[in-house]
Symmetry: C2
Subunit: 254 residues, 2 copies
């Protein structure tokens, strides 16, 4: 794509898009990933392309949950690897979470490229790679059902940025806590996860790293309090209210 | 993509997506077109994936304007050609509008494929193809500035489904009436066009054909009355109100 002038009102969004398109050209992102990113752009536009109050609340609760988890895992797909590989690795370090590659459209070559970019960004061990460790989650039709027996299968909490509804439900049924980044507060993923961060993953993951760092010195009882004070359904409803007022502001008289 | 069960709550949307992805595989659609379609899907989802009252009003005014125009032209890009080639040709017949191919990302091979699919669907003459007829519109940076001197350049009204803001503005500055299909009521295109149909082009174009047929027997004075009774800015504001109440309905308590 062409050079984007800094003065463009949606400069950041276009920069992120360029990263994604580069990821597609490099073989990290599937063509369905381009479509999904477009959907994300539109929802982010409607949010006002910023991290809203409800997202900050969800991020705080998510950080507390991750720090309390025994065996947290971050699930990575092509879009996430293209958009924020460095942040994924940083989040895994600060939260002691494993990283697992899990793709909707399975493709060994694409998986290799995703692993490579994560390692380039400092990841030591990556799950979801060895065939001998592959096992299945019940209730998913896509290739996302295949998980690592030492990764997602054994986990108690899974961080799933940019997720599909079926898998979120399957993970919940498998008694795992699910934390998701999703830009649509009405999506099945957002409605099904334990904690739904309605934010662009590129922005939200940086905040999540900061919160994990900040909360890492707190006692378990304090972290539990944060979690108990968070109501995901209520937060999603408030998010829709934020979106509506953003639309009103922009449409002036609406 | 896989077989979509008819029971899927977003069956129609997924069918449309399949058409677009096929268009990409066939070389009609650019990768940026996949992203753009994703954005459209999200905005359509927020509309409730149906033709709203405000869209119907805009379609009626659009039909009247097209029938009154001396030299209307339909501008076609890759996404439109992939999604509704047959409807484009039917609209051109019922409204006596020319068809011109005009691409944001110029590519002769892609243009040829677009021409081919339009001809396969019954188009006789297609503008924007002969190099000797190419001329420029002022105020556009992309290759969309190149237009046909016998097509868009000579027109008094241009129908631009799935448009970019820059070109809409340039067409207005060139004293052309602009009718657009856009799913984002706040976009520059929607805000700049004379008549903005906030609807999925796949649905809206069928309604537009019907309206052109229905109004084709009316007197000019009646058509003028329809146009004079239509206020695009007001209609867009009402559209945002429709979107907000759709969001409230879906979020229940928001």
């Amino acid at each position: 794509m062409a050079l984007i002038p800094k003065s463009h009102p949606r400069f950041q969004s276009l920069l992120i898009r360029e990263k994604l398109v580069k990821g597609f050209d490099d073989g990290l992102v599937a063509k369905e990933g381009l479509l999904a990113h477009g959907r994300g752009e539109a929802f982010d536009y409607i949010l006002g392309e910023k991290t809203l109050k409800t997202a900050k609340k969800a991020i705080k609760a998510a950080a507390a949950s991750i720090l309390l988890a025994k065996n947290p895992v971050i699930s990575v797909n092509g879009n996430v690897a293209a958009l924020c590989p460095n942040e994924i690795v940083r989040l895994s370090k600060v939260s002691k979470a494993k990283i697992e590659v899990n793709l909707f459209y399975a493709n060994e070559k694409r998986k290799e490229k995703i692993v490579k970019i994560l390692k380039k960004n400092g990841a030591k061990e990556i799950f979801g790679v060895l065939k001998k460790n592959a096992t299945r989650l019940i209730g998913i039709d896509s290739s996302r059902r295949i998980v690592d027996k030492n990764g997602i299968f054994a986990s108690d909490l899974v961080i799933v940025p940019l997720e599909d509804g079926d898998r979120t439900l399957a993970l919940r049924k498998a008694k795992k806590q699910v934390i998701t980044f999703d830009l649509n507060p009405l999506s099945r993923t957002a409605q099904t996860a334990n904690i739904s961060i309605i934010d662009n993953v590129v922005r939200g993951i940086v905040e999540l790293i900061t919160e994990c760092n900040r909360l890492s010195t707190k006692k378990s009882s304090e972290l539990e309090k944060i979690i108990n004070n968070f109501d995901n359904k209520k937060n999603l409803t408030h998010n829709v209210i934020e979106i509506k007022s953003n639309l009103s502001r922009r449409a002036k008289n609406a």
